[in-house]
């Protein structure tokens, strides 16, 4: 758990911007622009780690790992896949219309804060609430978007949410474990991007609805 300190106010302020970036990514049609927004979202996460670094020195290592893997590498992989396949826009119609989608996302963010408030008090509940919200938004993105690359963004939300949860709930875990978790996250994104590219090569589409070849019998 994070100790009460002036740093937590900075962390709470920074983290409260993250769900807004997540909602922007969800509604952005351009894959490239969405990747840039994700980069900005992760830069905020790096800012949170640097702030924590003044209290616990090992967070500087977390910040460096997140900067390399999430601010630069993961968005680069998405942009590379998007350009390589020529799928620059999300052309597939989402399962839920835009207005309903935005309303549900706001409700998910409020639910995230409510869940966190039941566990810890203010201002600690803000970063924890953000982390829960990001996870819920990631789940929402994966289940309502038909574009494979848009689903990958759902996983990126998961990763940032999980990373923030670790920082809030388990700030004292060894940096080797954090690097392990960050590496897993980046490898996961890399694998999903390669699979998306191969599926596009094979089926000439990034629409998840076309993945219906495997039958239950």
């Amino acid at each position: 758990m994070l100790p009460s300190s002036p740093e937590i106010v900075v962390i709470a302020t920074l983290s409260s911007v993250m769900p807004v970036t997540a909602m922007l990514i969800s509604e952005e049609k351009s894959i490239i622009r969405a990747a840039y927004i994700y980069s900005a979202q992760t830069l905020i996460l790096v800012g949170i780690f640097i702030t924590l670094g003044f209290k616990y020195y090992w967070f500087f290592i977390w910040a460096c790992a997140a900067l390399v893997t999430k601010v630069f590498l993961a968005p680069y992989v998405i942009m590379w896949t998007s350009r390589r396949t020529g799928v620059l826009e999300e052309t597939e119609r989402p399962v839920i219309p835009r207005m309903a989608s935005v309303t549900i996302m706001i409700a998910l963010v409020i639910s995230g804060y409510a869940l966190a408030s039941a566990y810890v008090s203010m201002p600690d509940s803000i970063p924890l609430g953000v982390s829960v919200s990001l996870t819920l938004l990631g789940l929402f993105l994966i289940s309502t978007r038909r574009n494979l690359l848009k689903q990958v963004f759902g996983f990126l939300h998961f990763e940032n949410g999980a990373h923030l949860t670790l920082a809030v709930l388990a700030p004292s875990i060894p940096e080797t474990i954090d690097v392990g978790i960050a590496t897993d996250a980046v490898v996961l994104i890399l694998i999903l991007a390669i699979l998306a590219r191969k599926i596009h090569e094979s089926l000439k589409t990034m629409n998840v609805s076309s993945l219906t070849m495997l039958k239950y019998s």
């Binding site: 758990m1 566990y119 996870t135 990631g138 789940l139 994966i142 494979l148 689903q151 996983f155 998961f158 999980a162 949860t165 670790l166 709930l169 388990a170 004292s172 875990i173 474990i177 392990g180 978790i181 897993d184 490898v187 996961l188 694998i191 999903l192 699979l195 998306a196 191969k198 599926i199 094979s202 089926l203 993945l211 070849m213 495997l214 239950y216 019998s217």
Partner: protein, 489 residues
């Protein structure tokens, strides 16, 4: 790790033997550990922590280590013939045979690490790494179906494992309030059980059960399993079904055991419910299945259900049965998936309607598939019957008659479904002989090493049904003691 690097850079022919050598070293090491642990009296979980605190060689970890290494050995031996034959048939071309061996070694490495992790975060990293290491193995054939299976596999398992990461973090945060950094280790969490009634602990344990249950293939989070197991090459299917499922299940078992230590009685009941649900869901799909690899995959879901039911009964007998079933089912499913590779060479299809007369074509294989069917239906005298019986008996000892009846009926349905298919393959008439083997017996050239592996595994399953070695008995009893806690012993 060394084997995986070497196998990628040397010729595929050499890679097979490097993998086999690596598997022999791992098997001998794990046997040595098994003998050592079984010969010592059980002295509590803390006595098994290694000098590097992140690892543990307690009875549960030792048992898992043995299962992983035994299957690794059999699959490596089979792969010698398999990759050669697949290259001849043009199914695996270019760098794919090398990639198969290299990734198989990485995959096994992640499973070995997950088996002996004392650090709960390291367990998560290792289990997530198993998904990443095996994703390209599932997609190795590069067909649209295998790419779809790989995508679904990675997405579903990774979503499930996000819940595990949340649960792990919450558990650590709660435990850390009392025992500090020790809360990051099994040894620390199990020796300081004082969280009775905590809502946060309850939420953490439910998240962990969902996460590791997804990875183990328990219903209702099982949908990835038939796709991935059916579309992967035979040795990979065997690794997924015979080994990976057990690795994820060990994480599941550890958290059920933690819930028993913390008096969260809801979790074993949840395990029991998920187990029975898995058995019934799988029983239905086994009856309607036409694809031989999907049939075996549905049977894996059913057997994961058997494992979870045994743990859910939470008695010494049922837990011993469940842990023994990890080995017996692991061996059996390894054998059947390896056999499915040969069936695909013979018939050129996975559709069982176009299979048949195997006993006439090849007596040994025709016999093996019938024996496999009986063993898969948990029929005596095979080892699966012993583990199945121990679980049912443990359930009766727990006074849970309704659950035992549901368990027995589901197994009976599965037995009927499996036997009708295996008998058809062995002795039935194919729907269309021309579309089936079509008289082209030259297509049927199963390498001798592949057949020998199947025979040895069948012999082992038969022997372990009537004789349980003393060292297995000791390790299983110690493991059960660890799972259900000394207080309930």
């Amino acid at each position: 790790m060394a084997a995986s690097i070497v196998t990628y850079f040397v010729k595929a022919g050499w890679g097979r033997y490097v993998t086999l050598a690596s598997s022999i070293i791992v098997l001998l090491t794990s046997l040595n550990v098994l003998v050592h642990v079984s010969s010592m009296p059980y002295e509590g979980i803390e006595s098994y922590v290694t000098s590097v605190k992140d690892f543990i060689l307690d009875p549960l970890a030792t048992w898992m280590l043995f299962i992983v290494s035994l299957m690794y050995f059999f699959i490596s031996l089979y792969s010698i013939g398999f990759t050669g034959r697949e290259e001849e048939l043009g199914e695996l071309r270019g760098s794919k045979p090398s990639l198969l061996h290299s990734l198989m070694n990485v995959f096994v490495l992640t499973m070995l690490v997950s088996s002996i992790s004392n650090n709960i975060f390291m367990l998560w990293v290792a289990i997530e790494a198993t998904t990443l290491a095996s994703a390209f193995l599932v997609a190795l054939y590069g067909k649209a179906e295998s790419l779809e299976a790989a995508w679904k596999y990675v997405v579903t398992c990774s979503v499930g494992l996000v819940f595990s990461l949340y649960g792990t973090s919450l558990l650590y945060a709660e435990g850390g309030k009392r025992i500090g950094f020790s809360a990051a280790f099994w040894s620390g969490l199990m020796t300081h059980p004082s969280h009775t009634g905590s809502l946060a602990i309850m939420v953490a344990l439910i998240s962990l059960i969902i996460g590791y249950g997804t990875k183990a293939g328990l219903a209702p989070m099982w949908t990835w399993l038939p796709d991935a197991h059916a579309e992967a090459p035979a040795p990979v299917s065997a690794l997924l079904s015979g080994v990976l499922i057990n690795c994820a299940f060990i994480g599941f078992v550890r958290y059920v055991s933690l819930s028993l230590a913390y008096d969260v009685s809801f979790i074993p009941k949840l395990s029991l419910a998920l187990g029975l649900l898995s058995m019934w869901v799988a029983a239905f799909f086994i009856i309607v299945s036409r694809d031989v690899k999907r049939l075996f995959a549905y049977s894996t879901v059913e057997n994961v259900g058997v494992l979870a039911t045994g743990i859910g009964f939470a008695t010494t007998t049922s837990v011993v049965g469940s842990l023994y079933h990890m080995l017996t089912h692991g061996l059996l499913k390894t054998m059947l998936f390896l056999l499915s590779g040969i069936l695909l060479w013979i018939y050129g299809t996975r559709d069982m309607r176009f299979m048949g007369e195997l006993l006439r074509l090849h007596k040994v294989l025709g016999f093996i598939i019938v024996v496999g069917g009986f063993a898969l239906g948990c029929s005596p005298p095979f080892a699966t019957f012993l583990s199945f019986y121990l679980i049912a008996y443990g359930g009766l000892l727990a006074g849970n008659l309704v659950a035992v009846i549901l368990y027995a009926i589901a197994s009976a349905v599965v037995f009927a479904g499996i036997m009708s298919r295996t008998l058809h393959i062995s002795m039935g008439k194919p729907k269309d002989v021309r579309r089936s083997y079509g008289g082209e017996f030259d297509r049927f050239k199963a390498p001798k090493t592949c057949i020998v592996v199947l025979i040895v595994i069948v012999a082992l399953i038969a022997i372990l049904g009537v004789y349980m070695p003393r060292l297995f008995h000791s390790v299983l009893v110690y493991s059960a003691k660890e799972v259900i806690g000394s207080g309930r012993w």
